[in-house]
Symmetry: C2
Subunit: 103 residues, 2 copies
DNA sequence: CGTATCGGTAAGCTGTTACTTACCGTAAAT
DNA sequence: ATTTACGGTAAGTAACAGCTTACCGATACG
């Protein structure tokens, strides 16, 4: 839904949302079931899911009156590849710095 | 400095800190130089760097009166591997769901 | 139909975050 | 030794994030 990295990282920065994602990684679930295990209210879970959805990290699949949430692997992969590029550049900078120190 | 994912993701969730990281990925830099290009004050940059440092994403190297900041590849890699595991589980869940839909 | 289940939205409170300016310590340079 | 450069910390403020309760629409079920 979105290619903005900031939103995705911000979304995963919250411990509760991280927990939701880990639960959803195990199996897709409706909102009520997700909320059942947590100490926060169901509306709070809905709000967290909205954030995750806007960040492109989950998808919804309506099934009768239930809204089943799934992890969106595309969103996770976008973060992965972003970090990959990032990491490469960081390592390159380190090598460069190391070589300069050699002289 | 820290193995907590939440802190790292939270840190990268802020657009300003993302920008700082991308600048530092190109080359290590002192605080003043980092602040020069931005629209926010130098103390604000210091505060952001503190967050990044606590998240284990940057290291400092004192050089005279300058504090040179570097990306810490270990921190970045920790996020990468966390996402890797995460992504794997998400894909597995998807396969499982797809198989169930087949029946 | 009416009623229950499910879940998203609104309004409001509270703690936290990102910024500012002002200040202070430390290292180098004159 | 004074001055300049650099950068971290303190205090205060304004915006924002996360929570709650109350409410409402929509599907399924009697």
């Amino acid at each position: 839904m979105n290619t903005n990295h900031s939103q995705a990282f911000l979304a995963l920065g919250d411990p509760t949302r991280q927990l939701l994602m880990e639960r959803l990684a195990k199996r897709p679930m409706p909102v009520g079931k997700l909320a059942a295990g947590l100490s926060i209210s169901r509306p709070a879970v809905s709000q967290h899911l909205k954030v995750l959805h806007n960040a492109g990290l989950v998808t919804v699949q309506q099934e009768g009156t239930r809204n089943i949430y799934h992890i969106d692997p595309r969103g996770v992969e976008a973060m992965r590849t972003y970090l990959d590029r990032f990491w490469d550049r960081a390592l390159a900078a380190f090598k460069r710095a190391a070589e300069e120190d050699m002289e």
